[in-house]
Symmetry: C2
Subunit: 399 residues, 2 copies
Amino acid sequence: MTADLLIRGGRPGGGPVRDLLVRDGRIAAIGTDLDAPAGTPVETLAGELVLPGLVDAHTHLDKTLWGMPWYENTAGPTLLNKISYERRMRREWEIDAARQSARQIELSLAQGTTHILTHVDIDTENGLAGLEGVLAAREDWKDLVDIQVAAFPQSGLMSRPGTLELMREAMAMGCDWVGGLDPYAIDRDPKGHLDAVFGLAEAFGRPVDIHLHEPEEMGALTLSLIFERVRALGMKGRVTISHAFCLGSERAHIVGPLLDELSELDIAVITTGPSGWTAPSVRQLRQAGIRVGAGNDGVRDTWKHYGDADMLDRAMFIGLRNRLCRDEEVAAAFDICTYGGAEIMRCADYGVTVGSAADLFVVEASGIAEAVARRPVRKLVTKRGQIVARDGECVRRAP
Amino acid sequence: MTADLLIRGGRPGGGPVRDLLVRDGRIAAIGTDLDAPAGTPVETLAGELVLPGLVDAHTHLDKTLWGMPWYENTAGPTLLNKISYERRMRREWEIDAARQSARQIELSLAQGTTHILTHVDIDTENGLAGLEGVLAAREDWKDLVDIQVAAFPQSGLMSRPGTLELMREAMAMGCDWVGGLDPYAIDRDPKGHLDAVFGLAEAFGRPVDIHLHEPEEMGALTLSLIFERVRALGMKGRVTISHAFCLGSERAHIVGPLLDELSELDIAVITTGPSGWTAPSVRQLRQAGIRVGAGNDGVRDTWKHYGDADMLDRAMFIGLRNRLCRDEEVAAAFDICTYGGAEIMRCADYGVTVGSAADLFVVEASGIAEAVARRPVRKLVTKRGQIVARDGECVRRAP
């Protein structure tokens, strides 16, 4: 009987120094002075942390300009400006979804991300080309990273006739999630939008993830329409709200009842820890028992130049946004960027315990708070026990 | 006649490729195919940007834990919790101000910072030891970096008898600025606090920089007390407000009149682009003609683990906080982290023009927006034409 890998002398989960043996892609044992069959590859550490792979639970692989020549951003300030600017630039700048997805995947792997949930634009101008590219990249990299795909009507669903049919095709092509976007503020037809999104979810038996930037009362009302549908369709535990800016309202009478209902319906929230927008308090969400994950959102795209796909950066951004200063609080930000996202993505066997999939990364740090604060180079990244990155470099190159 | 340095083939200020000749610490010429006297050191670039040195106009050199063993942060959540926690830990953890200042200076230099304005704690528990340490470090590093020091009553001025006398001693020891802090919210005596601060400013002929975290109406009222004193003492152009959270109020009727008066009295604002607090809009400030600079504030200290003293990171944080997305907007964030701070510090001859002091840094990027988004390693940093860092490493090591 062979084994895949023996990692000696690391600190699994940030605990005491232990050896960690991987067999058949899973953690087979954690202990001291573990033996491995002859021929097992061995990685010897000096007390580095061996942590669960980072989970980027909200990004847009098809949008990144990573590796392309620098483009001047001249988009207008509103969401609608940015959406139409991107739709146009996608063709003018030849943003090839397969190539760009591969580039961001390589970057993510190099930084310890082992699971990605990506939203891919479905619209009547670019059709399903983006999805085809993302699905091709997913297939191509499937041994190195787990990717879930949401069909995402970025340009509107009801407001752009023909989009719903494309969304249906997208789901049939293998999307894991039905995406939605600002049913009122962007699509201008909340009832129509949500009926369509939840209709697809029912038809394909898939969960829902809705981008909700709508602020204050508007967002609160849209959430109440979502709650209605979750109840009516029995979709408890199968809906996620991304961004959820309205939960960042300063007004407790708006936020309190929403948190109660999110908790009751087991609706998850994904945040980027945004700096320039109201944002849900991750402390409040977790206290209310709401599942919370995090994502990088767009990485150096037509929306903004910032971002480099590092989920440890993201943990820092969440920490700064939520004033997480004590070590235990910083560790909570890390938890959101790992276990939180994995729970939302329903990743089977995620973690650093015997029996878990060996999706791990290694950093030199005294503990998790230091790993987030310093964000050191990832010494080693494994996917099901196979080494996919070393010293900040992915073992495979994107085109 | 000798010259200090010839930088060939860079892009001064982000413009076209030019040579740049330094003589007697100043930029003597910018042109094509410049000649230099035999023996002049030559640095040959390949079109990299040659930019004005970064200006960290608000930091706390005496507070950083950089290079010390990791300490668990267990401080409580309020400002007062953090202030008393720090005062205690400063001794328990032996945070030596001279050593720690040198460490942050080295780090700053490696990242292209050529000017620093640091606030040093003056309190009845630690006395003037912090100031002595910072002044020693300043003297020690004076050939490599320009440092201005503010005497800062972090623990309160009126509320801690004996502090005012220490502040007076601190000014006599060579502080450049009189610092202040939340006259009402921390010191609980706004009239007493401001009379004391402005009294010191008058007595020593020094400008004032007040940390103002007070929100909304409280901050607005404190600002109005400051305006009174600026008028009465004729201190137009000699006062700076750091943080100024009240200017980030959502309520236009609070912010508008404050901006008008700040502009009229030529009072500057320094921001960190904070993520977890209301913050002034740099767009509004600049439109109102108010001088705006930026600083890193504390770098990995007892307040929070985050931060690494990089002012290009700071430009990114300001960009994210203020939703600066277009290239020209990102360049404005850079301007705040360079020219803005230099103007507040009244740095003589700052810039990348003939006659300016040769305080420069070099990065590989297509333009300023890319430099901020990517924050590449600083290839070269010069202080008055002397090379003080190369490839992200300072030429000198701190203890």
